[in-house]
C-alpha cells in the first residue's frame, strides 16, 4: 500500500530571471515500511523534496499525499499538527532545542500535541538508542552521535507515518555514521517504520530498499535493491 504519494511536485525559488527551479515535476510513491534513500549531488533538490514531504515548506505546484490525505490542503495550524503526528524529521545538524534535556527533546512533539507521553515507548527508545543514563542531559552535554540519536528518538517517538532524514550522518565520523544508519535500518525493520533518507554516502544508500537519484530537480534514477 502506498503510504506516500508525490505527484508532479514543482518548487521554484525566487522570481523572474532569478528564479531557480529546485524541483521540477517530480512524481513517485513510497510503500508502507519501505526504506528509501534519495541521493544526488548538492543543490540537486533533494532537501527541498524532503521538506515538501515533511510539510515545512509549500510547493509551487503539485501534491503530496500522506496516508491518503493531501498535505498542502491543510491550514498552517493543521500543518503544525500534521508535522507533530505524521512526520519525524532528522537533520544533519541535529537541531535539538538547547534548553531541553534528552527526554524533553524526544517527547517535544507529543507534548506539543497535548498528549501524555507513553513511558514504555520512551523507555524502549532510550534503550534502543543507547541514551539510558543521559535522560537529563542537555544537548551541549552530548557528543554529535548522541545528539543525532536524540533527534532520531524525537522522530520515532510518535510512530509517524514517515521518518524523513536529511543527511543524518553528514556531520558524523564513520563509526557513528554506521551506528546511526543501523538504528534507522533497525527501526525500519522492527517497527515497520517507513523511512526516507537523504544521503550522498553510497554505502548508506546501499542499505536501503530503494534508491532514488535526483539531479537538477528531476528524478534521474529510481531503483529497488534486491537483497
Amino acid at each position: 500500500m502506498d503510504i506516500l504519494t508525490v505527484s508532479h511536485l514543482t518548487k521554484i525559488y525566487g522570481e523572474g530571471e532569478a528564479a531557480t527551479r529546485a524541483l521540477d515535476d517530480v512524481s513517485f510513491s513510497v510503500q508502507e515500511g519501505e526504506f528509501v534513500a534519495i541521493v544526488g549531488s548538492s543543490g540537486s533538490g533533494k532537501s527541498t523534496l524532503l521538506h515538501l514531504i515533511g510539510g515545512v515548506d509549500r510547493p509551487t505546484s503539485g501534491h503530496v499525499l500522506l496516508n491518503g490525505a493531501d498535505v498542502y490542503a491543510r491550514s498552517d495550524e493543521e500543518l503544525a499538527v500534521f508535522r507533530r503526528r505524521e512526520v519525524g524529521l532528522v537533520y544533519q545538524f541535529y537541531n535539538l532545542v538547547p534548553v531541553l534535556n534528552v527526554v524533553e527533546n524526544m517527547t517535544l512533539p507529543v507534548a506539543l500535541d497535548g498528549r501524555t507521553v507513553n513511558q514504555d515507548r520512551l523507555g524502549g527508545l532510550l534503550d534502543r538508542l543507547g541514551l539510558r543514563g543521559r535522560e537529563g542531559h542537555l544537548p551541549r552535554q552530548l557528543s554529535g552521535g548522541q545528539q543525532q540519536r536524540v533527534a532520531i528518538g524525537r522522530a520515532l517517538m510518535n510512530a509517524p507515518a514517515v521518518v524523513l532524514a536529511d543527511e543524518p550522518t553528514g556531520n558524523l565520523d564513520t563509526a557513528n555514521s554506521r551506528e546511526i544508519m543501523q538504528l534507522l535500518r533497525d527501526s525500519n525493520r522492527d517497527f515497520g517504520q517507513t523511512m526516507v533518507v537523504i544521503t550522498h554516502d553510497e554505502e548508506i544508500a546501499l542499505a536501503a530498499d530503494r534508491i532514488i537519484a535526483v539531479e537538477d530537480g528531476r528524478i534521474v534514477r529510481d531503483e529497488r535493491i534486491r537483497r
Binding site: 495550524e77 500534521f82 524533553e104 537529563g136 542537555l138
Partner: protein, 1024 residues
C-alpha cells in the same frame, strides 16, 4: 590595509542597516551630550554677559585714601601682568539737594571723578549724550531728565558741594568704628577702614552709608558741611544702576579731570585680570599687587566666569546637568552596547571562520574595536553638528523667553559653543562606544571555532539550567510543573518557562533595556514634575483684575513689626501670618482713662476703628475709580482672625500631619488661623445670589453671617495644591479680643501644645508685644488660662466650592466672606485690615496704570486719611501672569523635548533588543516548528517570555528610577525649598504603557521576521 581591516569594513558595509542603527545611536549620544553641555555653556555665557552689562567687567575693587599710592601700585601690577585694565572712581564731594530734589534723587548728589574705561569695567554707559571728557562736565542719573524741573543735555547745573560730617544724635555720646556703623542702605567700608574711628565731626567718605540714629539704631546722625558751589555742564545721562553708581544716599553723578582740591575721600580702583581660576587666586593676586588694601570681589561675575562655582542656583544647574548627563550616557551605552553585542552575536560564525583560518584573538578583538572606531569617527562629528544644530533651533525659539526669565533680556540667550564642551562631548561619546564594544569584542575573541562552524554557538543553557534539566528527566516530572503560565499559555507557556529557567541569557538585554526605558521616562517625568511644580508654586494664587492696590494703616501705638507684616499680607493671601491677627490693641491708653479695662470696651474700640478705616478705604476706592485707564473690578478688606471651628465643618486639610495654620484642640473642635474678607456689598450680593441665597439674610448686624470657601492652597505632604478646608456649614467663633491682668492681648497664635491645659492638641496662645523683651523677641506669650477672651459667633451659611474671583480665588486657610456693610459694626478682631482694590488695565500697560493708582492712593491717604500708612503697594498681576506663562512655556518645551528624546532612545533600545533577541533564536524556533509547534503555541510562548522580561525589567527599573528621581529632587530642592519629593505616577503609567507598546511592536515585528523566514531556510541557516 591589512586583512582584518578589510574584513571589518566589508562587514560594516554588508550589514548596512545595523551599521546605520549603530551610527545613529552614536550620533544621538554625541548630540545629546553636546546639547546638554552647550546649554550649560550658553547659559553661563548669557549670565556672564548680562552681569558685565549690568555691573561691568571688573573683577575686584580696591580702595584707598591715597590716590597716588593706589595708582602707582596699579601701574606696577599692570606692568607685572598681575592685572589687565584699571579704571578709577574718586570721591569728589557731595552735592546738596533741595528738599524737593531729595524726594527724587536721594539725600545727596554724590560726585565721582572717573578715569579709565568705566564703560566696560563699571558698565557706566550713557543712555543719552556722552561721558564727560573734560573738567566741568557731568553725567547724571536718568531721573534728572524727567523729575522736578527736568534737565537736558547741554544744560548747566549749579550745586552747593560739601563734605558729610558725623554728628552725635541728641542725647548720645561716644564714638563708633567704621565696622560698627549700621548699614543703612549703602555699603559699609571695608576691613582696613573698619577700625577707623568715627567721632563727632568725622568726615565721612562714600563707603559709609547714610547715618540716621533714629533709623539705624546707632548714635550718629550726619550733616552736609557745604564748602563751595560748583557748576557743571550736563553732557549725558545713564539709566542702568551698576554697583559703582549706587549708594544709599543717592545716585552718583560722574565727572572727570577735577582739580585736586575737589578730590577728597575714598579712591576706588576697578581691575580686571587674566588667567585666574578661582576666587582664592583672585584674592591672592590682589593681595600681591595691593598689599593691605581693602578689596571687594565681583562675585556675580566671577561665578559666571566659572571662577567661582559655589552658590546654590549654580549648583542646581550643575547638578541637573550632571544627572541628565549620567542618564544620557547610561542610555547611550545601552543603545550602542546592544547594537554591537547583537552585531557580534549574529556574526559569531564569521568570527569562528576567521579564527579557523588563523585570526588570533587579538586580531578578532581589534576587528570589533576598529568597527567601533569607524562608527565613532562617523557618528561623533555628526553628533556634534546635530547637537549644536538642535541647540541653535531651540535657542532661537526659546532664547528670548529664557533671557527674560534670567533677567538678561538685553543680552539675549545666544548659542555659545565652548571648545571644551565639544571635546568633553566627543570624548564621552568615544569612551561610551569603546566601553560598549569591550564586552562584545571580548566575546568575539572567545568564540569556539568548532562550535561556531557547526552552528552550535547557541549553547544557550546555563549551568543551573543543566542541573534543572537533569532533574526534569524523571518520568514523573516530564512536562510537569506548568504553573500559571502553563495553564494560561499552554505548551507555549511551558516552553517559555523552561527557556527562562534554563537559558543563559534569560532575555537579559531585553530586561535591561526595559528597565532603562522606565528609568529614562521617569527621569523625564520627575524633571517635568519638579519643574512644573516649581512654576505652579511660583505662580501661586492669582487675584482678580490686572493690577491691584494693596494698603494697610498702622496703629502708631503698636511698636515695630507693622511694615514687615504689611509686606507679608500684601505678598500672600490673607491669614498667611499667624501674628497678623489682632496685630495691636486699639488705643488702650485712651480706654484706660475710663476706669478698669473691660473686654467689651476693647471690642467696641476695635469695631469703631475698623468702621472708620473701612469708611476711609471706601472713599479711597471712589477716588481710585477715577484714575484714567483703570477699569474698576472691585475692592475688599481682609485680615487674619483666630477661629474656633467645629469638627463637623473641617476638611481634610487640617486633619493631615503638618496641617496648615491650625489643627484639632483637646476638646475636639479646631483652632484655625483663618481670614475674613469684607467684600463690597454689590459683589458680595452677587456671590450670595449665585449660591442661591438671599442677600438680605446677611445684613443683620446682630448676627454676623458669612460665606465660607471650601478649598485653600496648602502642602498635602507632597505637592502644593488645593485642599478641602471647610466641608459643611455651621457656626464658628472668632476670637475678637483678650485681656490679661488688665492688659490688652496683642493677638493669638495657633500652636500645638503637647501639655496644654486640656491635654495635647492645638490651641490659641495669647501674646503681647514686647519690643525689648528679655528673650530678645518681639512678643511675650501668655498663659491662656490667665487670659479672658471675647468671641463673636459667625454663622457660615454656605460653603462655596470656589472663592469668588474678587476674593483672590483661594487663600491658604479657612476663608470667610462677609459683606462690607458688616464693617460698620463688627471688626471680628481685625485691627488694621488690608485694603485690596483690583482694576483692569489696557493690555501691556498694567505696570503704568498700577503706578498711577498707587500714586493716587498715596496722595489720598496722605491728604485725607487720619491714619498712618504702614504699607502701600501695587501688584502687577497681568505682568506676573505673563512672565509666569513664559516660564511655564519654557519649562514645558524643555521637558517635552527631553521626554521625547529620552523616549526615542528608550524605545529604540527596547525594539533593538527584543527583535534581535527573537531573530537570533529563529533557528531554534524553526526547529520547534518543524516538529510541530503551531503558530498559536509559538505566539503563546513569545508572549509569555515577554511578560517575563517585562516583569524582570520593571521592578529594577522602577527602583532605579525612584533613585534618579530622588537625585533630581535633591538637585532641584538645593536652591528652592518647599518642594516635596514625589513620584510622578502619571509618568510611571506612561512609562509602563510606552514600554508595553514598544515590546508589543518589537515582538510583533520580531515574530513576523521569524515566521516570514522559511522554516527550511532557518533550519539550514548556515552559520557562516
Amino acid at each position: 590595509m591589512n586583512a582584518m581591516t578589510t574584513f571589518t569594513i566589508k562587514s560594516l558595509r554588508a550589514n548596512k542597516v545595523r551599521t546605520l542603527v549603530t551610527i545613529a545611536g552614536v550620533v544621538l549620544a554625541a548630540a545629546l551630550l553636546t546639547a546638554v553641555l552647550t546649554s550649560y555653556t550658553s547659559l553661563q555665557a548669557m549670565l556672564y554677559e548680562a552681569e558685565t552689562r549690568m555691573a561691568g567687567t571688573w573683577m575686584a575693587e580696591v580702595q584707598g585714601d591715597d590716590f597716588d599710592a593706589l595708582a602707582s601700585e596699579a601701574r606696577e601690577a599692570q606692568a607685572a601682568g598681575q592685572v589687565n585694565d584699571v579704571a578709577y572712581l574718586r570721591d569728589a564731594g557731595f552735592g546738596e539737594l533741595t528738599e524737593q530734589q531729595q524726594n527724587y534723587f536721594g539725600r545727596y548728589l554724590p560726585l565721582a571723578d572717573f578715569s579709565g574705561d568705566i564703560e566696560t569695567l563699571c558698565s557706566l554707559r550713557p543712555s543719552e549724550g556722552r561721558l564727560p571728557e573734560k573738567a566741568g562736565e557731568i553725567m547724571l542719573f536718568d531721573t534728572w531728565r524727567t523729575a522736578g524741573d527736568g534737565v537736558e543735555v547741554g544744560d548747566t547745573i549749579t550745586v552747593p558741594v560739601g563734605e558729610r560730617v558725623a554728628v552725635l544724635a541728641p542725647g548720645r555720646t561716644g564714638s563708633m568704628t567704621h565696622g560698627e556703623v549700621p548699614a543703612s542702605g549703602g555699603f559699609v567700608g571695608g576691613m582696613e577702614a573698619a577700625e577707623d574711628e568715627i567721632a563727632e565731626g568725622t568726615v565721612l567718605d562714600s563707603s559709609i552709608g547714610y547715618l540716621d540714629a533714629a533709623l539705624d539704631g546707632g548714635i550718629f546722625n550726619e550733616e552736609l558741611r557745604v564748602t563751595g558751589e560748583r557748576t557743571y555742564t550736563v553732557v549725558g545721562f545713564y539709566d542702568n544702576i551698576p554697583y559703582a553708581a549706587s549708594h544709599g544716599f543717592g545716585m552718583t553723578a560722574f565727572t572727570c579731570d577735577s582739580p585736586d582740591d575737589e578730590l577728597t575721600g575714598l579712591n576706588r580702583a576697578y581691575v580686571t585680570m587674566a588667567g585666574v581660576g578661582s576666587t582664592a587666586a583672585v584674592e591672592q593676586r590682589i593681595e600681591e599687587a595691593f598689599p593691605d588694601r581693602y578689596a571687594e570681589l565681583h562675585m556675580g561675575l566671577l561665578r559666571y566666569m566659572g571662577v567661582r562655582t559655589d552658590g546654590a542656583i549654580w549648583d542646581t544647574f550643575f547638578n541637573i546637568a550632571a544627572v541628565l548627563a549620567v542618564v544620557i550616557i547610561v542610555a547611550c551605552v545601552s543603545l550602542i552596547y546592544n547594537a554591537f553585542a547583537i552585531s557580534v552575536a549574529e556574526r559569531t560564525g564569521q568570527f569562528g571562520l576567521l579564527a579557523s583560518v588563523g585570526a588570533s584573538r587579538r586580531q578578532l578583538r581589534r576587528a570589533v574595536a576598529l568597527e567601533a572606531l569607524i562608527v565613532a569617527a562617523i557618528g561623533v562629528p555628526l553628533g556634534l553638528v546635530v547637537g549644536i544644530g538642535g541647540c541653535t533651533v531651540t535657542f532661537a525659539a526659546l532664547g528670548p523667553s529664557l533671557a527674560t526669565i534670567f533677567g538678561a533680556a538685553e543680552v539675549g540667550f545666544n548659542l555659545s559653543v565652548a571648545p571644551w564642551a565639544l571635546a568633553v562631548a566627543a570624548g564621552l561619546t568615544v569612551a561610551t562606544v569603546l566601553f560598549s564594544v569591550f564586552v562584545p569584542a571580548w566575546r568575539a575573541s572567545r568564540v569556539n571555532v568548532i562550535d561556531a562552524l557547526r552552528g552550535n554557538q547557541s549553547a544557550r543553557a546555563s549551568k543551573r539550567g543543566a542541573a534543572r534539566a537533569a532533574r526534569a528527566a524523571n518520568p514523573a516530572k516530564l512536562w510537569r510543573g506548568r504553573g500559571i503560565a502553563g495553564r494560561v499559555f499552554g505548551m507555549g507557556g511551558l516552553l517559555a518557562r523552561i527557556n527562562e529557567k534554563r537559558g543563559a541569557s534569560k532575555g537579559m538585554a531585553a530586561s535591561v533595556s526595559l528597565a532603562l526605558a522606565i528609568v529614562l521616562l521617569m527621569t523625564a517625568g520627575s524633571l517635568s514634575t519638579f519643574l512644573g511644580t516649581l512654576t505652579k508654586v511660583a505662580g501661586g494664587p492669582v487675584d482678580a483684575g490686572d493690577v491691584g492696590v494693596v494698603a494697610m494703616f498702622s496703629d502708631d501705638t503698636a511698636p515695630g513689626g507693622d511694615g514687615a507684616e504689611g509686606a507679608d499680607a500684601a505678598g500672600n493671601a490673607p491669614g498667611a501670618e499667624g501674628a497678623d491677627a489682632g496685630a495691636a490693641d486699639a488705643n488702650p491708653a485712651a480706654l484706660a482713662d475710663d476706669g478698669p479695662l473691660t473686654l467689651e470696651a476693647v471690642v467696641e474700640a476695635r469695631n469703631a476703628r475698623f468702621a472708620e478705616e473701612a469708611t476711609v478705604y471706601g472713599k479711597a476706592w471712589e477716588v481710585l475709580k477715577t484714575t484714567p485707564d483703570a477699569e474698576p473690578v472691585g475692592w475688599r478688606l481682609d485680615g487674619g482672625v483666630p477661629l474656633i471651628v467645629p469638627e463637623a465643618m473641617v476638611g481634610d486639610a487640617f486633619k493631615a500631619d503638618g496641617a496648615l495654620h491650625g489643627g484639632q484642640m483637646a476638646d475636639g473642635s479646631f483652632a484655625v488661623m483663618g481670614s475674613v474678607v469684607y467684600l463690597e456689598d454689590a459683589a458680595f450680593d452677587r456671590c450670595v445670589a449665585d449660591a442661591g441665597l438671599n442677600p438680605a439674610d446677611f445684613r443683620d448686624p446682630t448676627e454676623p453671617r458669612a460665606l465660607g470657601v471650601g478649598k485653600a492652597y496648602g502642602n498635602n505632604g507632597a505637592v502644593y495644591e488645593l485642599l478641602d478646608v471647610l466641608t459643611a456649614t455651621g457656626t464658628v467663633q472668632a476670637l475678637t479680643a483678650g485681656l490679661y491682668e488688665g492688659e490688652v492681648v496683642s493677638g493669638f497664635a495657633v500652636a500645638y501644645e503637647a501639655d496644654g491645659a486640656n491635654g495635647a492638641g492645638f490651641g490659641f496662645v495669647p501674646y503681647v508685644f514686647e519690643p525689648n523683651g528679655a528673650d530678645g523677641g518681639m512678643t511675650r506669650n501668655l498663659d491662656p488660662a490667665d487670659v479672658e477672651t471675647a468671641t463673636t459667633p459667625v454663622e457660615v451659611v454656605a460653603v462655596l466650592n470656589e472663592a469668588p474671583e474678587l476674593v483672590g480665588m483661594y487663600g491658604e486657610s479657612v476663608q470667610l466672606i462677609v459683606p462690607m456693610s458688616l464693617a460698620a459694626t463688627h471688626s471680628l478682631g481685625i485691627i488694621d485690615p488690608t485694603f485690596r482694590a483690583s482694576f483692569d488695565a489696557p493690555e501691556g500697560r498694567s505696570g503704568e496704570v498700577g503706578d498711577d493708582l498707587v500714586n493716587a492712593a498715596g496722595t489720598f491717604f496722605h491728604d485725607e486719611a487720619p491714619f498712618e500708612v504702614a504699607f502701600l503697594a501695587m501688584n502687577d498681576y497681568a505682568g506676573d501672569v505673563a512672565s509666569n506663562q513664559t516660564l511655564a512655556m519654557v519649562v514645558n518645551v524643555f521637558c517635552l523635548l527631553f521626554t521625547v528624546i529620552l523616549a526615542l532612545i528608550a524605545m529604540a533600545n527596547v525594539f533593538n533588543t527584543v527583535t534581535n533577541g527573537l531573530i537570533l533564536r529563529r533557528r531554534e524556533f524553526a526547529v520547534m516548528r518543524s516538529v510541530g509547534l503551531s503558530n498559536r503555541q509559538f505566539r503563546a510562548m513569545i508572549v509569555d517570555e515577554c511578560v517575563a522580561w517585562c516583569a524582570r525589567g520593571l521592578v529594577p527599573g522602577v527602583l532605579l528610577s525612584l533613585l534618579v528621581s530622588w537625585l533630581l529632587w535633591v538637585a532641584v530642592s538645593g536652591s528652592l525649598s518647599g518642594l516635596s519629593f514625589m513620584v510622578p505616577w502619571a509618568y510611571v503609567a506612561l512609562a509602563f504603557a510606552m514600554t508595553a507598546a514598544a515590546v508589543g511592536i518589537s515582538v510583533a515585528y520580531g515574530m513576523h521576521r521569524c515566521k516570514a523566514d522559511n522554516v527550511v531556510e532557518a533550519l539550514r541557516m548556515d552559520s557562516v
